[in-house]
Amino acid sequence: MSHNSSAVQSHVAHHFVDSEQQFDAAKFGMWIFLVTEILFFGGLFAAYIIYRAWYPDLYTMASTQLDTTMGAINTGVLIFSSLTMALSIWAAQHNDKKKTGIFLLVTIACAFAFMVIKYFEYTHKFHLGIFPGEAYTFTGIDHPKAHIFFSIYYMMTGLHGIHVIIGIGLIFWLWMKNNKGSFNSAYYTPIEIVGLYWHLVDIIWIFLFPLLYLID
């Protein structure tokens, strides 16, 4: 119980007792939000698993159209961005505003690199006529449900991509705040919770990669 007035700092909202309580609450709130994210993606994972169990051959055939090299590079890019995200918190904990900013920028750069590679993957497929749903015209896969695999592929990677883009916005906002000197070792809650979000985006990709690209 710290009721001493020194705990009452400018960033503590009026309904919290102290900074510690506010930090814990924000983090807990973020974890609960991540639960909703996991179940949100979960519906797609469920659809993936059920269709894979129904049509294992379809998955083997269709995944040949996905470029493992690009997928692997993107995995590396996201892992690296997760590292720099965590390092930006580490820098903030050491009151190092400059390094915090640099690490945030590198994270943003990685996120862009990820999206650029995704863009090349998508356009290559569009070129072949591999679209989601009805627009699917590719004839290279001899399976009546081929379009369903790619519908699931586009839904999963598309939703993930939207999360990456939202992440870019959030991390950019952190960068601006950091430039104004908002963060220090006593207060870096926004970096912490955006970081949690960003790591979850990474984790989802960690599963998407083997599920979509690494089917024999």
């Binding site: 983090k27 580490w90 083997p210 599920l211 690494l214």
Partner: protein, 101 residues
């Protein structure tokens, strides 16, 4: 049980990233050995689970965090498994009503 401000260690973060990179290389490399069917999925998913575990425990620092944060994470995975599991209780055991449909 304060959850919060645990100083991160530079060394631990870097080692985690290296481990993740190595696991990524392994999971790609394993593919060229052509493990027979159910086992290839099991290997790929196991590696992904280990990777996710590393991210959650070290990058997201859940190992030093409040147990309620851990609990919410565990629950989300558990309920996802319920969704998949109980749905497959249907989809895997259907009897075709119209033969050949």
């Amino acid at each position: 049980m304060s959850s919060g401000h645990h100083a991160l260690s530079f060394k631990v973060l870097i080692s985690t990233a290296i481990a993740l990179a190595v696991l990524t290389v392994i999971t790609v490399a394993v593919r060229s050995i052509h493990i027979p069917s159910p086992f290839n999925i099991i290997v790929a998913i196991s590696i992904a689970v280990v990777k996710a575990y590393l991210v959650v425990m070290y990058f997201m620092n859940l190992r030093n965090d409040s147990r309620f944060n851990l609990l919410s994470f565990v629950f989300s995975v558990l309920f996802l498994l319920i969704l998949v599991g109980l749905t497959m209780l249907d989809t895997m055991f259907r009897v075709p009503i119209v033969p050949g449909f």
